[in-house]
């Protein structure tokens, strides 16, 4: 039985979730706001707001490029969190998950990090290099602030699948294939069996990510999981619009971005 409400009651859906990923500040904070609003219009249920990092171990070249652009434009963990009230002001109502590697959190300090998340109305947090065994303290802190700590589970998590899934909050991020972000998604019989197993244990919706890049991928994932997470593909769609953005044709860029998203998740 799936939990009906999570993210402080802001997410009531438990299936057919569309969870897009943006890198905060790629290519600028104002464009991140504009892209986020378009994604919401196209049916996004939760926004993963990525904090750019110098050494993103779980990410392939696409997200590395986005992180570089955002870092060059001066983005940081603190600024990304402070972008959340700006997103709200412009009309974003869906829950926001801050996606950050662990080192910036450690540098800021756990307490200050959670205070910032709370002050800025962030509903969730995902730290890809903080596996279950290393996250006990942070999970406790998240719980006490009513912030969802999103866990990841992979096909080779094996006997840990049950433990991770049973403790999942918000939604459970299911890494469909081994590798970094931005690869090819191959939904084999094995990965479908894996998703099924995860769903048996998880009290929260199971969303599949890594390598979801075409409408066919989206359809297959929808059929077997509760949600689809799309990151690198969205970054590539943004990259397609960079020339327009740089030459001042922002509305044209946003329109064509919206159309591509509609096509991707139709």
């Amino acid at each position: 039985m799936l939990t009906k409400t999570s993210f402080q009651g802001k997410l009531e859906k438990t299936e057919d979730l569309f969870i897009p990923f943006l890198v905060a500040g790629d290519p600028s904070p104002s464009m991140t706001i504009a892209f986020a609003l378009r994604l919401q219009q196209q049916g996004a249920d939760v926004l993963e707001l990525g904090v750019p990092y110098s050494d993103p171990l779980a990410d392939g070249p696409t997200i590395q490029r986005a992180a570089r652009r955002a870092l060059d434009a001066g983005m940081s963990l603190r600024k990304a969190i402070e972008l959340v009230p700006q997103l709200r002001k412009h009309g974003l109502t869906i829950p926001i998950v801050i996606f950050t590697y662990y080192n910036p959190v450690l540098r800021l300090g756990h307490d200050q990090f959670f205070d910032l998340l709370e002050e800025n109305g962030v509903e969730g947090v995902l730290i890809p290099d903080l596996p279950f065994e290393e996250s006990e303290e942070i999970r406790g802190q998240a719980e006490s602030k009513d912030i969802e700590f999103i866990s990841l589970v992979a096909p080779n998590s094996e006997q840990r699948i049950k433990q991770i899934a049973e403790n999942a909050k918000g939604f459970l991020y299911c890494v469909s294939t081994l590798g970094v972000t931005g690869g090819e998604n191959t939904m084999t019989g094995e990965s479908l069996a894996f998703i099924k197993k995860v769903k048996e244990y998880s009290p929260v919706p199971v969303a599949v990510g890594f390598g979801v890049s075409t409408n066919e991928d989206v359809k297959i994932v929808r059929e077997h999981a509760d949600g689809v997470i799309i990151g690198s593909k969205i970054i590539r769609l943004i990259e397609n619009e960079l020339d327009k953005i740089n030459s001042g044709e922002k509305s044209g860029a946003l329109k064509s971005f919206s159309n591509s998203i509609a096509e991707l998740v139709k």
Binding site: Y53, S54, D55, L57, A58, G60, P61, Q64, L71, S76, L77, R78, Y101, Y102, N103, P104, V105, L106, R107, L108, P128, D129, L130, P131, E133, E134, L152, V153, A154, N156, S157, E158, R160, I164, V175, L178, G179, V180, G183
Partner: protein, 397 residues
């Protein structure tokens, strides 16, 4: 008791652990299980030591540097000659251990990262020796700087993968090797070259390098009937230092790790991780690292590509925090001066990395008495550094 580190979570006090994407947790557990079994198997130890003896040429010599000792006028200086190890540095000890483990695990393909190319060469060497396929990740900037080692690796049959992300140096090569391993962990063994990375790597690499300290202790006791008063080693990731220090941790010898101060620790161009860095996570381990106020990892600098790394092994972070090891830093210039001195007085051209340890030891030797002793880990030979040395010394020579 120091020897219980790391604990079951892979911690050395506050440091270490496994800060990796979920997809690596399975492979790391598989590695740890295989390592534990191997370490309890006498046949594995016998094979490892047999290869060290009849292939690598161990034990390496302990050399009394009488000319330098007289010249500096203080402590008696001994050198542990890892430069005489096959392929010219201590790196091979670890590569042999991990290659034997890879074979034992049934993994036919190994991947490795390299900066200066010494670990890449060691990995390519063991791959040739044990019939494994080898892929070495190397930053494009390092490929340019270390042309000779790139050719050596290729000659040994390894594939050298050029890494263009970041600044194209060791940090970026390591990122890329980890990313490749994530996607290919089922049939690939990741052969890390230093006491860095997620648990169990720091422990494993230390245990495959402790042969340096074990041999030194025995040799030193034979010639001096006592342990050295001070022991020096250079520290980048810290494998030659950990290998030398570990067997001495519970003895009275003072241990000194020497980092690269580059153009000076008051400039942005250095690699003095413990001296100037702060605790953080790099390449899967909680340790000290060079970073900015926002927790972004910054680029290190040193004349020696082998010390040009923004992190350091977590056990060093622990030994720094508990003050069991004293960490100092040496500039490019001081290292080059020490290299010249050893070359001219003893007829040994050390690697520029090693010259950092020499420089710190030479600074201190004169103020010690003649019945005191010091041991310096001569971690590698300078052949690979000829191009750099020519740039600096050609006019004078």
């Amino acid at each position: 008791m120091l020897q219980v580190f790391p604990d079951v979570k892979g911690r050395f006090g506050d440091f270490g652990g496994k800060y990796v994407p979920e997809t690596l947790m399975g492979p790391l557990q598989e590695l740890e299980d295989a390592l534990d079994q191997a370490m309890e198997d006498q046949a594995f130890h016998d094979e490892y030591h047999h290869v060290l003896e009849e292939y690598a040429g161990r034990p390496t010599a302990l050399t009394y540097a009488d000319k330098i000792s007289d010249y500096l006028g203080g402590a008696k200086i001994y050198l542990k000659r890892e430069d005489l190890n096959h392929t010219g540095a201590h790196k091979l000890n670890n590569a042999i251990g991990q290659a034997l483990l890879a074979k034992r695990m049934g993994k036919e393909k190994i991947i490795a990262e390299t900066g200066a190319g010494q670990h890449g060469v060691a990995s390519a060497t063991v791959a040739a020796k044990f019939g494994l396929k080898c892929k070495v990740f190397m930053g494009e900037e390092d490929i340019r700087r270390q042309e000779l080692n790139v050719f050596r690796m290729k000659l040994l049959g390894a594939e050298v993968v050029s890494v263009s992300s970041g600044n194209g140096t060791l940090k970026d090569a390591t990122n890329e090797a980890i990313r490749y391993w994530v996607a290919n962990c089922e049939d690939h063994f990741y052969l890390i070259g230093s006491v860095v990375g997620p648990h169990p790597y720091p422990r494993m690499v230390r245990d495959f390098q402790r042969v340096i300290g074990d041999e030194s202790k025995k040799q030193f006791l034979e010639v001096e009937q006592d342990l050295p008063n001070r022991i020096y080693a250079c520290v980048g990731g810290g494998s030659n230092a950990m290998g030398m220090f570990y067997p001495f941790l519970e003895d009275d010898a003072e241990l000194i790790g020497v980092e690269a101060a580059g153009r000076g620790i008051d400039t942005p161009e250095h690699a003095a991780t413990l001296t100037k860095g702060a605790p953080g996570v790099i390449h899967g381990s909680l340790t000290y690292l060079m970073q900015d106020d926002n927790g972004q990892i910054t680029e290190p600098y040193s004349i020696s590509a082998g010390l040009d790394y923004p992190g350091i092994g977590p056990e060093h972070a622990h030994l720094f925090q508990t003050k069991r090891v004293r960490y100092e830093s040496i500039t490019d210039k001081e290292a080059l001066d020490a290299l010249r001195l050893l070359t001219e007085r003893e007829g040994i051209i050390p690697a520029i990395e090693t010259a950092h340890a020499l420089a710190q030891a030479f600074k201190e030797a004169g103020s010690m008495s003649k019945d005191e002793t010091m041991l310096i880990n001569l971690s590698g030979r300078g052949d690979k550094d000829m191009a750099t040395l020519m740039e600096h010394f050609e006019e004078e020579v």
